[in-house]
Symmetry: C2
Subunit: 238 residues, 2 copies
Amino acid sequence: MVGSRTGWVEADYVPCPADLAGLSSGATRFAIDGHPAAILPGVSCRNPEGHADVMRGEEVQILGAGRLTAIGDALVCIPGTHSKWARLEGGALTGFRTFVTGELYELLRRRSLVGALAEGDGFDPAAFGQGVDYGTRAPLAHAVFSARADVLTGGMAAAAVSSYLSGLLIGAELAGRPEAGGAEVVLLAAGVLAERYRAAFEVVGLPFRPIDAEAATIGGLALAARELWPALAQGLAG
Amino acid sequence: MVGSRTGWVEADYVPCPADLAGLSSGATRFAIDGHPAAILPGVSCRNPEGHADVMRGEEVQILGAGRLTAIGDALVCIPGTHSKWARLEGGALTGFRTFVTGELYELLRRRSLVGALAEGDGFDPAAFGQGVDYGTRAPLAHAVFSARADVLTGGMAAAAVSSYLSGLLIGAELAGRPEAGGAEVVLLAAGVLAERYRAAFEVVGLPFRPIDAEAATIGGLALAARELWPALAQGLAG
């Protein structure tokens, strides 16, 4: 990511609560061949236990989705390598929780003793559903091993391991999500991840509104650009 | 392991409840250059949710420790790549729960984005204790990310990440352990793992009896040999 420690320029994190105006005023501005450029900051928060959480990029999607659909109050889920569950209140991002779901899946599927027993990555809806269900109830480091034990004792087909593991991790994430405080749950995703999370939400009976992540990203960036360069935005509008 | 699917001869799993006599009668017997040899079976159980669990090797340690110390009723913790928490009742192994704690630690420390921020593997008792504490309370896939976020926002030294991560995983394991049903908790371990788990047990205030894993293994194997070859054992005794 261009604004990360290993990117072009390290951009700061602004603390929650954060809105688009705050992101824009915290931007790192520079020029590329004479053209104005800006890197938006990430967002940080601190949980009640005193540990930090950070995001970089998702804040634009979340605030973009909020503005575009006029949702001011929601619990927004953005699945991914590092899934985010963010609380949007009065149009501002007030807090969030990250889960290393996608990264753990890759590590367990490709490099673990459990993954070594898996055959292929075809989607098995029944195994996925079983995984989601057990993942919401069992300690994660234990649940993961059940895939290996079930295969070794003949209770699970090796071809089902990948889907079961994916379900376990998503189930554990759903069980650990922050409180929505009565607000609606928004699933901000696209492609295969959107399909998987939709299926998982249905397994646990969690109502949600799906929003396309790509549209939210473009919308959020356009809104941020208007905040960053109001004159330019006026010129384009005129 | 010689009795695993990729070992010399695949030995079965016997179901819980299991004792040393049961293990011996389920042994796979063969000869090596005319000398009698046997591979003991592993042990399997099924949890209330219908998923299997398996162990191979730890059952000898657990039953050996029980017989040697005359403990018939305990919850036994054997830390490792795949940690086991086993219930010993009336001298028999009646059930257990596996956690992929050690394997997850290696994957996260060596191959993840969180581990990439860590510097070295020196033991930091304070960071370890914080990890144990947070690991008992937070969803694991979220807690893991806090190491990265704390480093990025200046709240944790990169040199503390390894200990903190280790603490998180052990804390999550402790929080997810099976019920002891009033029995004492036994820590069956040796070396660095014994030290780490002792420290973790103290953080959560869990009383336990430490037993050396090596002595338990030798004791268990000797007892199993007597069951397998009673005449030989009598000859040695005479």
